[in-house]
Symmetry: C2
Subunit: 317 residues, 2 copies
Protein backbone atom coordinates (compact mmCIF):
# COMPACT_ATOMS: atom_id res chain seq x y z
CA UNK A 1 0.00 0.00 0.00
CA UNK A 2 1.34 3.41 -0.90
CA UNK A 3 2.31 5.66 2.00
CA UNK A 4 0.76 8.94 0.91
CA UNK A 5 -1.29 10.27 -1.99
CA UNK A 6 0.06 10.20 -5.54
CA UNK A 7 -1.95 13.10 -6.88
CA UNK A 8 -3.30 15.79 -4.59
CA UNK A 9 -5.64 18.49 -5.90
CA UNK A 10 -5.87 21.81 -4.05
CA UNK A 11 -9.20 23.61 -4.37
CA UNK A 12 -8.82 27.17 -3.13
CA UNK A 13 -5.23 28.39 -3.24
CA UNK A 14 -4.97 31.12 -0.64
CA UNK A 15 -2.43 30.91 2.18
CA UNK A 16 -3.89 27.66 3.52
CA UNK A 17 -4.17 25.98 0.11
CA UNK A 18 -0.60 26.94 -0.75
CA UNK A 19 0.62 25.64 2.61
CA UNK A 20 -0.93 22.25 1.83
CA UNK A 21 0.40 22.27 -1.74
CA UNK A 22 4.05 22.75 -0.82
CA UNK A 23 3.94 20.09 1.88
CA UNK A 24 2.49 17.43 -0.40
CA UNK A 25 4.89 18.41 -3.19
CA UNK A 26 7.88 18.20 -0.82
CA UNK A 27 6.75 14.70 0.16
CA UNK A 28 6.68 13.58 -3.48
CA UNK A 29 3.02 13.92 -4.49
CA UNK A 30 2.01 15.47 -7.80
CA UNK A 31 -0.03 18.54 -6.87
CA UNK A 32 -2.54 20.43 -8.99
CA UNK A 33 -3.88 23.76 -7.77
CA UNK A 34 -7.07 25.59 -8.68
CA UNK A 35 -8.48 28.88 -7.41
CA UNK A 36 -11.51 30.55 -8.93
CA UNK A 37 -9.86 34.00 -8.75
CA UNK A 38 -7.71 34.59 -11.85
CA UNK A 39 -5.39 37.00 -10.01
CA UNK A 40 -4.78 34.38 -7.31
CA UNK A 41 -3.88 31.82 -9.98
CA UNK A 42 -1.50 34.30 -11.60
CA UNK A 43 0.31 35.03 -8.36
CA UNK A 44 0.64 31.34 -7.45
CA UNK A 45 4.07 30.56 -8.95
CA UNK A 46 5.79 33.38 -7.08
CA UNK A 47 3.89 32.70 -3.83
CA UNK A 48 4.68 28.98 -3.91
CA UNK A 49 8.29 29.75 -4.74
CA UNK A 50 8.65 32.12 -1.76
CA UNK A 51 7.04 29.62 0.60
CA UNK A 52 9.38 26.81 -0.50
CA UNK A 53 12.34 29.15 -0.33
CA UNK A 54 11.49 30.21 3.22
CA UNK A 55 11.23 26.58 4.29
CA UNK A 56 14.61 25.79 2.72
CA UNK A 57 16.25 28.82 4.35
CA UNK A 58 14.88 27.75 7.74
CA UNK A 59 16.37 24.29 7.20
CA UNK A 60 12.93 22.69 7.14
CA UNK A 61 12.99 21.52 3.50
CA UNK A 62 15.44 20.27 0.92
CA UNK A 63 15.21 19.84 -2.87
CA UNK A 64 12.62 22.56 -3.15
CA UNK A 65 13.27 22.85 -6.91
CA UNK A 66 12.07 19.27 -7.34
CA UNK A 67 9.02 20.03 -5.23
CA UNK A 68 8.32 23.14 -7.29
CA UNK A 69 8.36 21.05 -10.45
CA UNK A 70 5.63 18.83 -9.01
CA UNK A 71 3.25 21.79 -8.59
CA UNK A 72 0.89 22.49 -11.51
CA UNK A 73 -1.59 25.35 -11.72
CA UNK A 74 -4.90 24.58 -13.42
CA UNK A 75 -7.43 26.98 -14.88
CA UNK A 76 -10.48 24.86 -14.19
CA UNK A 77 -11.56 22.78 -11.20
CA UNK A 78 -12.19 19.88 -13.59
CA UNK A 79 -8.57 19.86 -14.74
CA UNK A 80 -7.23 20.12 -11.23
CA UNK A 81 -9.34 17.21 -9.97
CA UNK A 82 -8.75 14.92 -12.92
CA UNK A 83 -7.12 11.75 -11.54
CA UNK A 84 -6.66 13.11 -8.01
CA UNK A 85 -6.75 10.55 -5.21
CA UNK A 86 -6.98 13.30 -2.58
CA UNK A 87 -8.53 16.77 -2.72
CA UNK A 88 -7.78 19.43 -0.11
CA UNK A 89 -10.49 22.07 -0.14
CA UNK A 90 -9.47 25.42 1.35
CA UNK A 91 -12.04 27.91 0.07
CA UNK A 92 -13.50 30.80 2.08
CA UNK A 93 -15.00 29.61 5.38
CA UNK A 94 -18.67 30.33 4.89
CA UNK A 95 -21.13 27.50 4.87
CA UNK A 96 -22.84 28.40 1.56
CA UNK A 97 -19.48 28.83 -0.20
CA UNK A 98 -18.25 25.47 1.08
CA UNK A 99 -21.56 23.76 0.23
CA UNK A 100 -21.42 24.94 -3.39
CA UNK A 101 -17.79 23.85 -3.78
CA UNK A 102 -18.53 20.48 -2.14
CA UNK A 103 -21.30 19.82 -4.67
CA UNK A 104 -18.96 20.63 -7.56
CA UNK A 105 -16.08 18.59 -6.15
CA UNK A 106 -18.32 15.64 -5.29
CA UNK A 107 -19.57 15.47 -8.89
CA UNK A 108 -16.02 15.42 -10.29
CA UNK A 109 -14.12 12.97 -8.08
CA UNK A 110 -13.79 9.24 -8.44
CA UNK A 111 -15.64 7.19 -5.84
CA UNK A 112 -12.28 6.20 -4.31
CA UNK A 113 -10.91 9.73 -3.86
CA UNK A 114 -11.09 11.49 -0.50
CA UNK A 115 -11.85 15.17 0.06
CA UNK A 116 -10.49 16.94 3.15
CA UNK A 117 -11.79 20.41 4.05
CA UNK A 118 -9.57 22.93 5.85
CA UNK A 119 -12.61 24.23 7.76
CA UNK A 120 -11.48 25.48 11.16
CA UNK A 121 -14.80 25.17 12.94
CA UNK A 122 -17.73 24.35 10.64
CA UNK A 123 -18.35 20.57 10.70
CA UNK A 124 -18.55 18.73 7.37
CA UNK A 125 -22.18 17.74 7.85
CA UNK A 126 -23.12 21.42 7.55
CA UNK A 127 -21.92 21.64 3.95
CA UNK A 128 -21.60 18.16 2.43
CA UNK A 129 -25.16 16.91 2.99
CA UNK A 130 -26.20 17.46 -0.64
CA UNK A 131 -22.84 16.74 -2.25
CA UNK A 132 -22.47 13.74 -4.57
CA UNK A 133 -20.14 11.13 -3.04
CA UNK A 134 -20.66 12.83 0.33
CA UNK A 135 -19.25 9.78 2.13
CA UNK A 136 -15.82 10.72 0.70
CA UNK A 137 -15.68 14.06 2.59
CA UNK A 138 -14.17 14.83 6.00
CA UNK A 139 -12.58 17.77 7.81
CA UNK A 140 -8.80 18.02 7.63
CA UNK A 141 -8.10 21.19 9.60
CA UNK A 142 -4.54 22.56 9.80
CA UNK A 143 -3.33 25.36 12.08
CA UNK A 144 -2.17 28.74 10.93
CA UNK A 145 0.46 28.99 9.47
CA UNK A 146 -0.31 25.62 7.87
CA UNK A 147 3.10 25.00 6.27
CA UNK A 148 4.78 25.26 9.69
CA UNK A 149 2.47 23.95 12.42
CA UNK A 150 2.35 20.13 12.27
CA UNK A 151 -1.08 19.35 13.75
CA UNK A 152 -4.10 18.51 11.55
CA UNK A 153 -7.54 17.72 13.00
CA UNK A 154 -9.47 14.99 11.21
CA UNK A 155 -13.23 15.08 11.79
CA UNK A 156 -15.67 12.76 10.00
CA UNK A 157 -19.28 13.69 9.21
CA UNK A 158 -21.87 11.11 10.29
CA UNK A 159 -21.86 9.76 6.72
CA UNK A 160 -18.11 9.75 6.13
CA UNK A 161 -16.89 6.32 4.95
CA UNK A 162 -15.05 4.37 7.70
CA UNK A 163 -11.84 4.12 5.67
CA UNK A 164 -11.50 7.89 5.12
CA UNK A 165 -10.10 8.99 8.50
CA UNK A 166 -7.54 6.17 8.84
CA UNK A 167 -6.39 6.62 5.21
CA UNK A 168 -5.86 10.38 5.62
CA UNK A 169 -4.31 9.87 9.02
CA UNK A 170 -1.68 7.52 7.59
CA UNK A 171 -1.05 9.74 4.56
CA UNK A 172 -0.55 12.87 6.65
CA UNK A 173 1.70 11.11 9.15
CA UNK A 174 3.78 9.94 6.17
CA UNK A 175 4.39 13.55 5.07
CA UNK A 176 5.44 14.65 8.56
CA UNK A 177 2.19 16.13 9.83
CA UNK A 178 0.73 15.19 13.22
CA UNK A 179 -2.88 14.15 12.52
CA UNK A 180 -5.29 13.92 15.45
CA UNK A 181 -8.73 12.41 15.37
CA UNK A 182 -11.93 14.07 16.55
CA UNK A 183 -14.22 11.09 16.87
CA UNK A 184 -17.45 12.92 16.09
CA UNK A 185 -18.52 16.43 15.16
CA UNK A 186 -18.44 19.27 17.68
CA UNK A 187 -18.28 23.02 17.03
CA UNK A 188 -14.70 24.26 17.14
CA UNK A 189 -13.31 20.71 17.11
CA UNK A 190 -10.56 20.10 19.71
CA UNK A 191 -8.04 22.80 18.93
CA UNK A 192 -10.32 25.81 18.84
CA UNK A 193 -12.32 24.56 21.82
CA UNK A 194 -9.13 24.38 23.91
CA UNK A 195 -8.02 27.75 22.57
CA UNK A 196 -11.51 29.16 23.19
CA UNK A 197 -11.61 27.94 26.80
CA UNK A 198 -8.30 29.65 27.53
CA UNK A 199 -9.29 32.79 25.59
CA UNK A 200 -12.64 33.06 27.36
CA UNK A 201 -10.84 33.00 30.72
CA UNK A 202 -8.26 35.50 29.45
CA UNK A 203 -10.94 37.97 28.26
CA UNK A 204 -12.82 37.60 31.57
CA UNK A 205 -9.68 38.20 33.68
CA UNK A 206 -8.97 41.35 31.67
CA UNK A 207 -12.59 42.55 31.81
CA UNK A 208 -12.65 42.09 35.59
CA UNK A 209 -9.47 44.08 35.98
CA UNK A 210 -7.14 41.34 37.23
CA UNK A 211 -4.34 41.89 34.72
CA UNK A 212 -3.28 43.80 31.62
CA UNK A 213 -3.39 42.23 28.16
CA UNK A 214 0.40 42.41 28.10
CA UNK A 215 0.77 40.56 31.41
CA UNK A 216 -1.76 37.89 30.42
CA UNK A 217 0.19 37.35 27.19
CA UNK A 218 3.47 37.19 29.14
CA UNK A 219 2.02 34.59 31.54
CA UNK A 220 1.51 32.27 28.59
CA UNK A 221 4.52 33.22 26.45
CA UNK A 222 7.03 32.95 29.31
CA UNK A 223 5.28 30.33 31.42
CA UNK A 224 2.38 28.11 30.41
CA UNK A 225 3.27 27.96 26.71
CA UNK A 226 6.81 26.66 27.23
CA UNK A 227 5.85 23.17 28.37
CA UNK A 228 2.89 23.09 25.97
CA UNK A 229 5.27 23.62 23.03
CA UNK A 230 6.52 20.04 23.39
CA UNK A 231 4.12 18.33 25.81
CA UNK A 232 0.36 18.43 25.94
CA UNK A 233 -1.70 19.55 28.97
CA UNK A 234 -2.13 16.01 30.32
CA UNK A 235 1.56 15.12 30.13
CA UNK A 236 2.36 18.48 31.73
CA UNK A 237 0.30 17.75 34.84
CA UNK A 238 1.44 14.12 34.83
CA UNK A 239 5.00 15.39 35.44
CA UNK A 240 3.90 17.98 37.98
CA UNK A 241 3.30 15.73 40.97
CA UNK A 242 5.39 12.87 42.38
CA UNK A 243 2.51 10.41 41.92
CA UNK A 244 1.71 11.57 38.40
CA UNK A 245 -1.59 12.78 36.96
CA UNK A 246 -3.83 11.01 39.49
CA UNK A 247 -1.91 12.56 42.38
CA UNK A 248 -2.06 16.00 40.72
CA UNK A 249 -5.74 15.69 39.86
CA UNK A 250 -6.77 14.64 43.35
CA UNK A 251 -4.98 17.60 44.87
CA UNK A 252 -6.02 20.24 42.36
CA UNK A 253 -9.44 19.14 41.10
CA UNK A 254 -11.18 21.34 43.73
CA UNK A 255 -9.25 24.45 42.58
CA UNK A 256 -10.06 23.79 38.93
CA UNK A 257 -13.67 22.95 39.72
CA UNK A 258 -13.92 26.27 41.55
CA UNK A 259 -12.58 28.06 38.46
CA UNK A 260 -15.24 26.38 36.33
CA UNK A 261 -17.98 27.23 38.84
CA UNK A 262 -16.97 30.89 38.73
CA UNK A 263 -17.66 30.93 34.98
CA UNK A 264 -21.14 29.42 34.72
CA UNK A 265 -22.61 32.66 33.41
CA UNK A 266 -20.46 33.30 30.36
CA UNK A 267 -20.73 36.70 28.77
CA UNK A 268 -20.14 37.23 25.09
CA UNK A 269 -17.06 39.27 24.20
CA UNK A 270 -18.90 42.61 24.07
CA UNK A 271 -18.21 45.26 21.43
CA UNK A 272 -16.93 47.55 24.17
CA UNK A 273 -14.60 44.87 25.55
CA UNK A 274 -13.27 44.05 22.09
CA UNK A 275 -12.63 47.77 21.54
CA UNK A 276 -10.69 48.09 24.81
CA UNK A 277 -8.56 44.98 24.25
CA UNK A 278 -7.96 46.02 20.66
CA UNK A 279 -6.78 49.45 21.83
CA UNK A 280 -4.20 47.81 24.14
CA UNK A 281 -2.98 45.67 21.23
CA UNK A 282 -2.89 48.66 18.85
CA UNK A 283 -0.72 50.54 21.32
CA UNK A 284 1.69 47.60 21.36
CA UNK A 285 1.50 47.15 17.57
CA UNK A 286 -0.18 49.57 15.13
CA UNK A 287 -2.48 47.97 12.59
CA UNK A 288 -0.06 48.63 9.72
CA UNK A 289 2.62 46.70 11.62
CA UNK A 290 0.69 43.43 11.39
CA UNK A 291 2.17 42.16 8.09
CA UNK A 292 5.74 42.62 9.33
CA UNK A 293 4.92 41.07 12.71
CA UNK A 294 3.27 38.14 10.93
CA UNK A 295 6.48 37.55 8.99
CA UNK A 296 8.34 37.74 12.32
CA UNK A 297 5.95 35.13 13.74
CA UNK A 298 6.52 32.81 10.79
CA UNK A 299 10.29 33.22 11.09
CA UNK A 300 10.16 32.51 14.82
CA UNK A 301 7.81 29.58 14.28
CA UNK A 302 10.04 28.08 11.57
CA UNK A 303 13.04 28.39 13.90
CA UNK A 304 11.05 26.82 16.76
CA UNK A 305 9.87 23.93 14.59
CA UNK A 306 13.47 23.38 13.49
CA UNK A 307 14.63 23.43 17.12
CA UNK A 308 11.93 20.97 18.21
CA UNK A 309 12.67 18.59 15.31
CA UNK A 310 16.37 18.57 16.18
CA UNK A 311 15.50 17.85 19.82
CA UNK A 312 13.23 14.98 18.78
CA UNK A 313 16.01 13.52 16.63
CA UNK A 314 18.45 13.78 19.51
CA UNK A 315 15.88 12.13 21.83
CA UNK A 316 15.75 9.20 19.43
CA UNK A 317 19.51 8.70 19.40
Amino acid sequence: MKETFEHVAIAGAGLVGCGWAVQFALAGSEVTLYDERAETRQSLPSRLHVMLDDLEKAGLAKNTQDAFSRLRICHTLENALDGADYVQESVFERVEVKAEVARRIGALISSQAIVGSSSSGIPASAFTQDAPNRERFLISHPVNPPHLAPVVELVPAPWTAPDAVPTVRRALAAIGKVPVEVKREIDGFILNRLQGALLNEAWALYEEGYASIQDIDATVAHGLGLRWAFMGPFETIDLNAPGGLADYAERLAPLYHGIALSRTQPRSWSADLIRRVSEERRQALPLDGIPARTRWRDRRLAALVGHLRAQERSDEN
Copy 2:
Protein backbone atom coordinates in the same frame (compact mmCIF):
# COMPACT_ATOMS: atom_id res chain seq x y z
CA MET B 1 18.74 52.65 43.60
CA LYS B 2 20.09 49.11 43.48
CA GLU B 3 18.74 46.88 40.73
CA THR B 4 18.02 43.72 42.67
CA PHE B 5 18.26 42.47 46.24
CA GLU B 6 21.60 42.30 48.06
CA HIS B 7 20.73 39.54 50.47
CA VAL B 8 17.99 37.05 49.70
CA ALA B 9 16.84 34.51 52.29
CA ILE B 10 15.20 31.27 51.16
CA ALA B 11 12.75 29.77 53.64
CA GLY B 12 11.92 26.22 52.53
CA ALA B 13 14.59 24.72 50.31
CA GLY B 14 12.86 22.05 48.25
CA LEU B 15 12.95 22.14 44.45
CA VAL B 16 11.24 25.53 44.32
CA GLY B 17 13.38 27.14 47.00
CA CYS B 18 16.57 25.84 45.36
CA GLY B 19 15.40 27.17 41.99
CA TRP B 20 15.02 30.63 43.48
CA ALA B 21 18.35 30.38 45.31
CA VAL B 22 20.46 29.62 42.24
CA GLN B 23 18.84 32.36 40.20
CA PHE B 24 19.45 35.06 42.79
CA ALA B 25 23.00 33.80 43.36
CA LEU B 26 23.73 33.83 39.61
CA ALA B 27 22.54 37.45 39.51
CA GLY B 28 24.95 38.45 42.27
CA SER B 29 22.82 38.38 45.43
CA GLU B 30 24.09 36.83 48.65
CA VAL B 31 21.70 33.97 49.37
CA THR B 32 21.04 32.22 52.67
CA LEU B 33 18.94 29.05 52.73
CA TYR B 34 17.00 27.47 55.53
CA ASP B 35 14.84 24.36 55.61
CA GLU B 36 13.42 22.88 58.80
CA ARG B 37 14.24 19.32 57.65
CA ALA B 38 17.82 18.46 58.62
CA GLU B 39 18.18 15.93 55.79
CA THR B 40 17.09 18.57 53.27
CA ARG B 41 19.71 20.97 54.62
CA GLN B 42 22.34 18.25 54.38
CA SER B 43 21.55 17.48 50.76
CA LEU B 44 21.51 21.14 49.75
CA PRO B 45 25.14 21.58 48.63
CA SER B 46 24.97 18.70 46.17
CA ARG B 47 21.48 19.63 44.92
CA LEU B 48 22.44 23.27 44.37
CA HIS B 49 25.63 22.18 42.65
CA VAL B 50 23.76 19.88 40.24
CA MET B 51 21.22 22.57 39.42
CA LEU B 52 23.92 25.14 38.65
CA ASP B 53 25.84 22.58 36.66
CA ASP B 54 22.79 21.70 34.56
CA LEU B 55 22.19 25.38 33.80
CA GLU B 56 25.82 25.84 32.77
CA LYS B 57 25.75 22.74 30.55
CA ALA B 58 22.60 24.03 28.86
CA GLY B 59 24.34 27.33 28.18
CA LEU B 60 21.93 29.18 30.44
CA ALA B 61 24.44 30.26 33.09
CA LYS B 62 28.09 31.23 33.42
CA ASN B 63 30.42 31.55 36.42
CA THR B 64 28.45 29.06 38.41
CA GLN B 65 31.39 28.59 40.81
CA ASP B 66 31.04 32.23 41.83
CA ALA B 67 27.32 31.78 42.25
CA PHE B 68 27.87 28.68 44.35
CA SER B 69 30.15 30.66 46.66
CA ARG B 70 27.34 33.13 47.30
CA LEU B 71 25.02 30.40 48.63
CA ARG B 72 25.09 29.83 52.38
CA ILE B 73 23.13 27.17 54.25
CA CYS B 74 21.81 28.16 57.66
CA HIS B 75 20.65 25.93 60.49
CA THR B 76 18.09 28.31 61.92
CA LEU B 77 15.50 30.56 60.30
CA GLU B 78 16.85 33.42 62.44
CA ASN B 79 20.31 33.11 60.93
CA ALA B 80 18.99 32.85 57.39
CA LEU B 81 16.83 35.96 57.73
CA ASP B 82 19.41 38.11 59.53
CA GLY B 83 20.00 41.16 57.32
CA ALA B 84 17.91 39.89 54.38
CA ASP B 85 16.21 42.53 52.27
CA TYR B 86 14.11 39.89 50.51
CA VAL B 87 12.73 36.56 51.73
CA GLN B 88 11.38 33.94 49.34
CA GLU B 89 9.12 31.53 51.23
CA SER B 90 8.64 28.14 49.53
CA VAL B 91 7.33 25.85 52.24
CA PHE B 92 4.69 23.16 51.77
CA GLU B 93 1.50 24.56 50.23
CA ARG B 94 -1.01 24.14 53.02
CA VAL B 95 -2.61 27.17 54.56
CA GLU B 96 -1.81 26.31 58.19
CA VAL B 97 1.83 25.55 57.36
CA LYS B 98 2.22 28.82 55.48
CA ALA B 99 0.42 30.78 58.24
CA GLU B 100 2.80 29.48 60.92
CA VAL B 101 5.87 30.25 58.80
CA ALA B 102 4.52 33.71 57.94
CA ARG B 103 4.16 34.53 61.65
CA ARG B 104 7.73 33.44 62.33
CA ILE B 105 9.16 35.27 59.30
CA GLY B 106 7.15 38.42 60.04
CA ALA B 107 8.56 38.56 63.56
CA LEU B 108 12.16 38.28 62.31
CA ILE B 109 12.35 40.63 59.31
CA SER B 110 13.15 44.33 59.27
CA SER B 111 10.22 46.60 58.44
CA GLN B 112 11.82 47.34 55.05
CA ALA B 113 12.28 43.74 53.92
CA ILE B 114 9.79 42.11 51.56
CA VAL B 115 8.56 38.52 51.74
CA GLY B 116 7.41 36.74 48.58
CA SER B 117 5.56 33.44 48.85
CA SER B 118 5.85 30.79 46.13
CA SER B 119 2.19 29.80 46.71
CA SER B 120 0.72 28.58 43.43
CA GLY B 121 -2.90 29.22 44.24
CA ILE B 122 -3.55 30.20 47.88
CA PRO B 123 -3.74 34.01 48.13
CA ALA B 124 -1.55 35.77 50.71
CA SER B 125 -4.52 37.06 52.70
CA ALA B 126 -5.34 33.47 53.63
CA PHE B 127 -2.11 33.02 55.59
CA THR B 128 -0.59 36.43 56.41
CA GLN B 129 -3.52 37.97 58.28
CA ASP B 130 -1.99 37.42 61.71
CA ALA B 131 1.67 37.80 60.72
CA PRO B 132 3.71 40.66 62.15
CA ASN B 133 4.68 43.12 59.37
CA ARG B 134 1.95 41.58 57.22
CA GLU B 135 2.09 44.58 54.85
CA ARG B 136 5.54 43.32 53.72
CA PHE B 137 4.12 40.02 52.31
CA LEU B 138 2.96 39.24 48.78
CA ILE B 139 2.72 36.25 46.45
CA SER B 140 5.66 35.68 44.12
CA HIS B 141 4.64 32.51 42.27
CA PRO B 142 7.07 30.86 39.83
CA VAL B 143 6.25 28.05 37.40
CA ASN B 144 7.59 24.54 37.63
CA PRO B 145 10.50 24.02 37.01
CA PRO B 146 11.25 27.39 38.61
CA HIS B 147 14.91 27.70 37.59
CA LEU B 148 13.92 27.38 33.90
CA ALA B 149 10.50 28.97 33.31
CA PRO B 150 10.82 32.78 33.39
CA VAL B 151 7.36 33.90 34.49
CA VAL B 152 6.58 34.92 38.10
CA GLU B 153 3.13 36.03 39.22
CA LEU B 154 3.07 38.85 41.77
CA VAL B 155 -0.14 39.11 43.77
CA PRO B 156 -0.61 41.56 46.66
CA ALA B 157 -2.88 40.91 49.64
CA PRO B 158 -5.32 43.73 50.42
CA TRP B 159 -2.87 44.96 53.09
CA THR B 160 0.35 44.64 51.07
CA ALA B 161 2.32 47.93 51.07
CA PRO B 162 2.07 49.78 47.74
CA ASP B 163 5.84 49.70 47.16
CA ALA B 164 6.14 45.91 47.48
CA VAL B 165 4.89 44.79 44.05
CA PRO B 166 6.82 47.41 42.02
CA THR B 167 10.01 46.74 44.02
CA VAL B 168 9.86 42.97 43.51
CA ARG B 169 8.81 43.44 39.87
CA ARG B 170 11.94 45.53 39.17
CA ALA B 171 14.20 43.18 41.12
CA LEU B 172 12.95 40.08 39.32
CA ALA B 173 13.15 41.72 35.89
CA ALA B 174 16.76 42.62 36.76
CA ILE B 175 17.65 38.94 37.29
CA GLY B 176 16.04 37.88 34.01
CA LYS B 177 12.64 36.72 35.22
CA VAL B 178 9.41 37.88 33.58
CA PRO B 179 7.25 39.20 36.42
CA VAL B 180 3.54 39.72 35.78
CA GLU B 181 1.13 41.50 38.04
CA VAL B 182 -2.17 40.15 39.30
CA LYS B 183 -3.87 43.32 40.46
CA ARG B 184 -5.95 41.74 43.22
CA GLU B 185 -6.43 38.31 44.73
CA ILE B 186 -8.27 35.56 42.87
CA ASP B 187 -8.04 31.79 43.38
CA GLY B 188 -5.51 30.26 40.97
CA PHE B 189 -4.15 33.68 39.99
CA ILE B 190 -3.75 34.13 36.22
CA LEU B 191 -1.54 31.20 35.23
CA ASN B 192 -3.46 28.39 36.89
CA ARG B 193 -6.81 29.90 35.92
CA LEU B 194 -5.76 29.88 32.25
CA GLN B 195 -4.35 26.39 32.64
CA GLY B 196 -7.49 25.30 34.48
CA ALA B 197 -9.82 26.63 31.79
CA LEU B 198 -7.95 24.67 29.11
CA LEU B 199 -7.68 21.57 31.32
CA ASN B 200 -11.38 21.64 32.20
CA GLU B 201 -12.25 21.66 28.48
CA ALA B 202 -9.67 18.91 27.82
CA TRP B 203 -11.12 16.64 30.55
CA ALA B 204 -14.66 17.26 29.28
CA LEU B 205 -13.72 16.46 25.66
CA TYR B 206 -12.15 13.21 26.79
CA GLU B 207 -15.06 12.34 29.10
CA GLU B 208 -17.55 12.91 26.27
CA GLY B 209 -15.56 10.67 23.94
CA TYR B 210 -14.40 13.25 21.39
CA ALA B 211 -10.70 12.38 21.47
CA SER B 212 -8.04 10.31 23.18
CA ILE B 213 -5.73 11.76 25.81
CA GLN B 214 -2.85 11.26 23.40
CA ASP B 215 -4.59 13.18 20.60
CA ILE B 216 -5.62 16.02 22.92
CA ASP B 217 -2.00 16.28 24.07
CA ALA B 218 -0.79 16.24 20.44
CA THR B 219 -3.23 19.02 19.49
CA VAL B 220 -1.49 21.27 21.99
CA ALA B 221 2.10 20.00 21.67
CA HIS B 222 2.13 20.16 17.86
CA GLY B 223 -0.33 22.98 17.32
CA LEU B 224 -1.66 25.41 19.91
CA GLY B 225 1.43 25.38 22.10
CA LEU B 226 3.87 26.38 19.37
CA ARG B 227 2.69 29.96 19.03
CA TRP B 228 2.05 30.22 22.77
CA ALA B 229 5.72 29.40 23.45
CA PHE B 230 6.70 32.87 22.26
CA MET B 231 3.47 34.87 21.94
CA GLY B 232 0.53 35.11 24.29
CA PRO B 233 -3.07 34.23 23.39
CA PHE B 234 -3.98 37.84 22.54
CA GLU B 235 -1.01 38.41 20.24
CA THR B 236 -1.73 35.04 18.62
CA ILE B 237 -5.26 36.03 17.60
CA ASP B 238 -4.09 39.56 16.74
CA LEU B 239 -1.92 38.02 13.99
CA ASN B 240 -4.62 35.59 12.86
CA ALA B 241 -6.84 38.00 10.93
CA PRO B 242 -5.94 40.72 8.41
CA GLY B 243 -7.62 43.39 10.56
CA GLY B 244 -6.01 42.19 13.79
CA LEU B 245 -7.64 41.22 17.08
CA ALA B 246 -10.84 43.25 16.57
CA ASP B 247 -11.40 41.63 13.16
CA TYR B 248 -10.73 38.16 14.63
CA ALA B 249 -12.92 38.76 17.69
CA GLU B 250 -15.89 39.99 15.68
CA ARG B 251 -15.78 36.94 13.44
CA LEU B 252 -15.12 34.33 16.11
CA ALA B 253 -16.79 35.67 19.27
CA PRO B 254 -19.99 33.70 18.48
CA LEU B 255 -18.06 30.40 18.18
CA TYR B 256 -16.23 31.01 21.46
CA HIS B 257 -19.39 32.18 23.20
CA GLY B 258 -21.04 28.96 22.07
CA ILE B 259 -18.18 26.96 23.58
CA ALA B 260 -18.64 28.79 26.90
CA LEU B 261 -22.41 28.26 26.80
CA SER B 262 -21.88 24.51 26.35
CA ARG B 263 -19.95 24.42 29.65
CA THR B 264 -22.28 26.20 32.08
CA GLN B 265 -22.82 23.04 34.14
CA PRO B 266 -19.25 22.15 35.04
CA ARG B 267 -18.69 18.73 36.52
CA SER B 268 -15.91 18.04 38.94
CA TRP B 269 -13.18 15.73 37.67
CA SER B 270 -14.74 12.56 39.08
CA ALA B 271 -12.73 9.77 40.70
CA ASP B 272 -13.75 7.49 37.85
CA LEU B 273 -12.69 10.00 35.20
CA ILE B 274 -9.35 10.58 36.93
CA ARG B 275 -8.83 6.81 37.04
CA ARG B 276 -9.52 6.44 33.31
CA VAL B 277 -7.30 9.34 32.26
CA SER B 278 -4.59 8.14 34.60
CA GLU B 279 -4.76 4.66 33.06
CA GLU B 280 -4.19 6.14 29.57
CA ARG B 281 -1.19 8.06 30.89
CA ARG B 282 0.19 5.04 32.74
CA GLN B 283 0.05 3.05 29.52
CA ALA B 284 2.08 5.77 27.81
CA LEU B 285 4.45 6.12 30.78
CA PRO B 286 4.57 3.76 33.79
CA LEU B 287 4.66 5.48 37.17
CA ASP B 288 8.29 4.54 37.76
CA GLY B 289 9.21 6.30 34.52
CA ILE B 290 8.20 9.70 35.87
CA PRO B 291 11.57 10.73 37.35
CA ALA B 292 13.43 10.02 34.08
CA ARG B 293 10.71 11.72 32.02
CA THR B 294 10.90 14.73 34.36
CA ARG B 295 14.62 14.99 33.70
CA TRP B 296 13.83 14.73 29.98
CA ARG B 297 11.32 17.58 30.39
CA ASP B 298 13.87 19.77 32.17
CA ARG B 299 16.49 19.06 29.50
CA ARG B 300 14.00 19.90 26.73
CA LEU B 301 12.84 22.98 28.59
CA ALA B 302 16.40 24.20 29.13
CA ALA B 303 17.11 23.72 25.42
CA LEU B 304 13.87 25.53 24.52
CA VAL B 305 14.65 28.45 26.84
CA GLY B 306 18.12 28.65 25.29
CA HIS B 307 16.62 28.62 21.80
CA LEU B 308 14.08 31.33 22.68
CA ARG B 309 16.73 33.54 24.30
CA ALA B 310 18.95 33.27 21.22
CA GLN B 311 15.98 34.18 19.02
CA GLU B 312 15.21 37.21 21.19
CA ARG B 313 18.83 38.36 20.95
CA SER B 314 18.76 37.98 17.18
CA ASP B 315 15.45 39.93 17.05
CA GLU B 316 17.16 42.77 18.87
CA ASN B 317 20.07 42.96 16.42
